[in-house]
Symmetry: C2
Subunit: 462 residues, 2 copies
Amino acid sequence: MKAIILAGGSGTRLWPLSRKQYPKQLLKIEGDTSLLQSTFERILNLVSAENIISITNTEQAGDVKLQLQNITSGSIVLSEQISKNTAPAIAASLNYLEKTSGNDEIILIVPCDHVIKNTAAFVDSINSAIELANAGYLVTFGVKPSYPETGYGYIQAGEKFNNGYKVKQFREKPDENLAAEFVQKNDFYWNSGIFMGKLSTIKSEFKKYAPEIFDKCQNLKFENQNKISFMDYEALPDISFDYAVLEKSDNLALAELKSDWIDVGSWQSLYNVNPKDENGNVITGNVLINNVKNSYIYSSKELIAVSGLENIILVETEDAIMACRKDHAQDVKILHDKLKEKESETLELHKTVYRPWGYYTCLNRGEGYQTKMICVHPGQKLSIQSHNHRSEHWVVLEGTAFVVLDNENHTIEAGGSIDIPVKAIHSLQNPYDTDLKVIEVQKGTILLESDIIRYQDMYNRV
Amino acid sequence: MKAIILAGGSGTRLWPLSRKQYPKQLLKIEGDTSLLQSTFERILNLVSAENIISITNTEQAGDVKLQLQNITSGSIVLSEQISKNTAPAIAASLNYLEKTSGNDEIILIVPCDHVIKNTAAFVDSINSAIELANAGYLVTFGVKPSYPETGYGYIQAGEKFNNGYKVKQFREKPDENLAAEFVQKNDFYWNSGIFMGKLSTIKSEFKKYAPEIFDKCQNLKFENQNKISFMDYEALPDISFDYAVLEKSDNLALAELKSDWIDVGSWQSLYNVNPKDENGNVITGNVLINNVKNSYIYSSKELIAVSGLENIILVETEDAIMACRKDHAQDVKILHDKLKEKESETLELHKTVYRPWGYYTCLNRGEGYQTKMICVHPGQKLSIQSHNHRSEHWVVLEGTAFVVLDNENHTIEAGGSIDIPVKAIHSLQNPYDTDLKVIEVQKGTILLESDIIRYQDMYNRV
């Protein structure tokens, strides 16, 4: 068996926690690992690391690799130049896979925006469906609905056969009445978005129903670090595999996914997945409440004090605050679209950005300067680098910095400082046991993250 | 005529905009001047500056003086060691005033948390009531209610005499039904909190009904800068003049205040005083809304995006976010009390602190260090000072700094930096035409604002 993890994401529906360059699958939504890491670890029970392909896009690939390397090495990360929904991503992944896989190889395809806690039941469900896949069916996995959720798609089961069912119909997100009807009827399942089939089955169904996508994704060139090189990628339609292929196929089987399963597609589902206090609230971070009910209050840093509200979502990240009705959590998309029109920077990156060596936080910015707090974890080192357009000035706050500046070594204790002129080759390193914290003042008319020439990097980012 | 402006305040009900050390009367709530400044300018139409006494407390006195000096010099600012509500403040002010005033002098006493736009009508109303004051009455001013407000106190008018009415009764904040009844009855007025009388009248009523306060405030010592020195001040009861004296007196008259009048006592009243958009919203700062109605959204800095909410108040200041129902805006006091129990720093000062020379913003803080952005306006200069417990490191971001360090002059352009060792005598000055912005990194085991020895100060703060 091989597996494709759909690891891209737009960071829209969980904004402002989720950002374009750091979307929800990279966040620790539940527990100590990110959704991506949890998905990867779950799949490792079925497929060895080198047979797992994660597909994402250029902006997110670095963080995806970093998170997977923290679990095990050897897995493949493909990165699209541009995100184009699941149909192009799956077509490209299949093209990569077929170079090393036989036609009868079973391919498991999983999104990574789910929380699933019962791994044993998950593994069991997948294994039970192998027979259906081997019989040439495209197997979708359905979850027995526990309540009338209006935010999910539903699949109606037909007659039972083998270890599963025929598929009678797909139904997109229903209204409340219809959802209640579905739950009562007993033959409706939530569409988990997970499916599998033989490589030959998936390919032939794809070719039959979406040849315009499938054909363009043949003979792709995979560059260094598995970046997909494909000139017409931008011309591909922005369409899901479900919509382009699955819902049209008459070669489908439905298998029940017997584990727990929650799609973390909205703030409301994030609320659902978390434990509540006695008033039905999910409270995270520096929050004070008085007479608040059935709400989700999330603070990443600053104090949030709330009184007398019910059924709201209120989220603080360092540079944005979002508030909406919990039962209208899909409105976040409307806010996101409006902010996109205004080219709001809050959609792209967080104020605090995580790197392999630690993290930095933007403190303030003005015409010709920018100030950051940089934290380098023990034993870590930023790349040996230079900048064409900015000078830097470092003041050590905590710990001790080891700086190499134009081949000269400097050891700088807390309180000390050093100037890094434009074009000087320099590196910042923390060879000690405690975090190193440094204030960096950048000066220059051009202040871009991309103005960085790397000469050597312990995380292979040169 | 002389006037007492009650300029103290606890910063409770408009938290987080209002803080203990920078409460609402110092804020620009409406228009370009603070409530204190607007009040002072209004009274200047009746009383000359040197006959106006503003009474506040030690923590706020510096900012009160600064704001009044921006209008005119020569007025008196009294500062209590500790705030004790209006009865002790008025008793102390009377004691100060009687040294220079005759018994027949008329004293006008005004709070400064009102918005009054029609100054002519205000002046006219006060002047019309002088006859009543001269006749020996304690004159309260009432406002014809325009709607059944439950947040105000009411005064019922008795028979008409002179230019006013007798007072039938005081009624504290009524419930909705009672407020509606009051408005219909036509003889109820909102209690404006403004009153006046001859010095002898006020003194004799005070002595009659609250001798325990009045007597203790005789023969006070007024120190340098008019700080009230009174050893037992702390032992005085925390009680309002209305409650201690006014409501008990049988020597009262009611005069109508014919101007507009809004008591800015809560977020809801602040909402009332501001212009609304077509959906009844008051929106200030960096805010994006979608389908929001009858709400007050206030951003001091970071983006607030709100969807689908009605009747809420949502306020962001740099270090705190507050959300509550607009019609339960008094709940802010509950939040404030809970934060007080936790000794929350967000009650004391803002992250950005205004000073006579400009302002500073706290950027971050850790064990043994603190980082600030300091902005010095053109022509301004911080005091010549030293610190016993911290070193400082300054990096110039914008403009040019003129620094004197242990009698040596340094001119530092943007990008440059300088170390200020512990105990070194130094000053930071901006003799140029544009703002000077500096990053200050403080290092030391004790990092307190109070660790400052001032040798010379152009704002008389030595």
